[in-house]
């Protein structure tokens, strides 16, 4: 591999990692606090992509407005789902929640079909980000550079929010002991609703930011949900920087793995997860859950 190729691959791996991180971080947040395995997260991602399509292409709004619309749209959808339905399920079996999110996937897939039909769509790059930057020995696409900036920004913002604010302390406490928090007078249901909304909005942003790079088609939710779970799991459940690390591992393994061993590309993410879980059963930065 020449230096040019290596640089390019490393860069692409990073860009992929950042795009995946943005989506997976929301899933991680929801799982970490609510302990809900949200199968609908991929569908939220798809809705994020479709919403930015409608807002920027059909209505002609600027790209940034589209991203915000995707985030807002998913926040509203998620809040409605949480307040109307999901909030009644926290005390039930985890598996019932899983069945619930699967039902949401089915309903939203048909909703998408009714709203957007089955055509495939594409979203243009935001102005000024559609080209590439020439470093002399290598060309780097601007949009991917942009993702490489946005990803860490989101990570830092989440870290500040969760680690440095009162609200964040409550959220972290909620992951530990819900009853205790409730006894302390914290409105736990509101914390849950806020976390679910925020995590889902991140899926929307992830979808919106992925939209210029990929074709928008029904079914685009299917693989993304597995990949997000892989990232969250290999990073360590509920661990923000774990997910960041997990996304980086995912990005580089998929990028370099696909170049070097194209025959394995279909199962690369799963091989990565296998390797991590066998060596570190609780993920890269995860801790074993005490007892039971």
């Amino acid at each position: 591999m020449t230096l040019t190729m290596f640089t390019l691959n490393a860069f692409y791996g990073l860009a992929l990692a950042m795009n995946m991180f943005i989506i997976a971080s929301g899933l991680n947040l929801i799982f970490g606090v609510l302990r809900v395995i949200n199968f609908a997260h991929g569908m939220f991602y798809m809705f994020g992509a479709y919403i930015i399509f409608t807002v920027t292409k059909t209505w002609g709004a600027p790209f940034l407005v589209g991203v915000l619309a995707s985030a807002a749209g998913l926040a509203v959808i998620a809040l409605a789902i949480e307040r109307l339905l999901l909030k009644n399920l926290y005390d039930k079996e985890h598996l019932m929640q899983l069945l619930f999110t699967f039902a949401i996937v089915l309903l939203m897939s048909d909703a998408a079909k009714m709203i957007w039909g089955t055509d495939q769509y594409s979203v243009g790059y935001p102005p000024g980000l559609g080209g590439a930057i020439n470093l002399g020995f290598v060309l780097l696409p601007q949009y991917q550079l942009f993702l490489c900036v946005v990803g860490p920004l989101i990570a830092i913002a989440m870290w500040l929010l969760v680690d440095r604010t009162r609200w964040g302390r409550i959220v972290r406490a909620a992951t530990q002991d819900r009853e205790m928090l409730s006894a302390l007078g914290v409105n736990v249901p509101m914390v849950y609703a806020a976390v679910f909304t925020m995590g889902s909005a991140l899926a929307g942003i992830g979808g919106a930011l992925a939209a210029p790079r990929v074709a928008l088609v029904p079914g685009m939710d299917a693989t993304i949900i597995n990949e997000c779970f892989i990232i969250v799991i290999i990073g360590g459940l509920g661990n923000l920087w774990g997910s960041f690390l997990g996304a980086l591992a995912f990005g580089f393994v998929v990028q370099f793995g696909t170049v070097l061993a194209p025959n394995w590309q279909d199962v690369l993410p799963y091989l990565l997860m296998l390797a991590v879980l066998i060596v570190r059963p609780w993920g890269l930065l995860g801790r074993p859950e005490a007892g039971r």
Binding site: M5, S109, D119, P141, F256, D266
Partner: protein
């Protein structure tokens, strides 16, 4: 002897008139949900259009047509069950449709067991009409050999020398590659494949492949990347100036308006590809007529190409039943062999040996037009296999 013959004839006549009340049942199966719906939904629209037209003219053999439509879910086992259901519960006389190779082969397997004719209208895998050919399976779509042949022909015509072969890593991609390799020496003796890459089916990230193609110094790419794969590739490769130097010859119908109309200005230069049908291509009156009716049904002038495939399948079924004067599978199968019908894209004939129709495709370069926001094929050439 004579008397018994009369009795038999009378019986047959009686049965015939009783039968005349019964509609002809045509089963149609396409993916209508999930990832395959992009193609399945328009194909089903064409399927329905054909049945509406036939019914307006009195149906088949004077009997009304009853259309029974199902989602094949892009899943071979589910499709197999559904097709059995159509045969055993709904008692269909013939089944049409399918999209993916695996679904096509699964449906072909059911057709073989149940002795019901199946016309594959979209699946292209060559196996269906070679190794796994049987009496009841027919194909009115193109196939990977035809497509590969035309692609290598185009490589020769554009005097390409260093080629990169870019196929999706699954049945269609592998078969198309075989079709190209088989004919390249004959069609483009000066061309050489210097690099073969196979991204996975459903890939959305082509960054591991794009730099490799650019670094290989190819002057042309022979690609089987269809639909969303092509769109994603374009979105990721174009910022690097990928299409400035490299000529992209593609199967997989990426020259269709569904893609060009969506990508608009983002559709790259230097693309030569195919499509089954072109709404803006005035070929002959029958095509214009078809296009007008389809536009009315779908409420858009810019109709998708896939409708034609569903439409032609039904027309073939109808013609075969008329020719056989029966809906019995054995007779319909016999009638389909060598049958020629008129279609919106010209006359088609099913080869009696391979059960394959000589379905051609429109081929040509995609070019900017001053008065259009999207690219169109110009000049268009309808290439039909010999």
């Amino acid at each position: 002897m004579k008397i018994s013959a009369i009795i038999v004839a009378a019986g047959a006549l009686g049965a015939g008139t009783a039968f005349a009340q019964q509609p002809v049942k045509i089963g149609g199966m396409y993916p209508l949900t999930g990832g395959g719906a992009v193609y399945g939904v328009p194909a089903m629209a064409g399927h329905q259009l054909a049945i509406e037209e036939l019914n307006a003219k009195g149906g088949i053999l004077g009997r009304k047509i009853e259309s029974i439509e199902r989602d094949d879910k892009l899943n071979p086992s589910a499709a197999s069950s559904t097709m059995k259901e159509l045969i055993t519960k709904d008692k269909v006389d013939i089944v049409l449709g399918g999209l993916s190779s695996a679904v096509g082969l699964a449906m072909s397997e059911v057709s073989k067991q149940e002795k019901v004719v199946y016309i594959a209208t979209i699946p292209k895998t060559i196996q269906m009409t070679t190794d796994k050919l049987h009496k009841y399976v027919f194909r009115t779509a193109s196939n990977t050999d035809f497509e590969g042949d035309t692609m290598s022909l185009l490589a020769g015509r554009y005097k390409l020398s260093k080629l990169c072969n870019l196929q999706l890593d699954y049945a269609y991609g592998n078969d198309l590659e075989a079709g190209i390799v088989k004919t390249l020496g004959k069609n483009a003796p000066n061309a050489k494949i210097v690099l073969t890459l196979k991204p996975k089916l459903g890939a959305t990230d082509f960054n591991p492949f794009i730099p490799q193609v650019m670094a290989a110094g190819c002057d042309g790419v022979l690609s089987g990347l269809w639909g969303p794969h092509f769109v994603s590739w374009v979105k990721q490769a174009k910022p690097l100036g990928f299409f400035d130097k490299i000529k992209w010859i593609s199967g997989g119908e990426i020259a269709s308006h569904e893609i060009a109309g969506e990508l608009k200005g983002d559709f790259p230069d230097n693309v030569i590809s195919n499509t089954y049908e072109l709404w803006y291509h005035a070929q002959d009156p029958s095509h214009k007529e078809f296009q007008a009716r389809l536009a009315k049904k779908l409420n858009t002038q810019e109709t998708p190409q896939w409708a034609l495939l569903g439409y032609v399948g039904v027309m073939y079924a109808a013609a075969a039943m008329e020719k056989a004067k029966s809906t019995e599978a054995d007779k319909v199968s016999a009638a389909l062999e060598g049958l020629t019908i008129k279609t919106p894209v010209g006359p088609l004939t099913i080869d009696p040996k391979s059960h394959q129709a000589n379905m051609g495709q429109f081929w040509g370069p995609m070019v900017k037009k001053p008065d259009r926001a999207y690219r169109m094929m110009d000049p268009v050439e309808y290439i039909q296999p010999k």
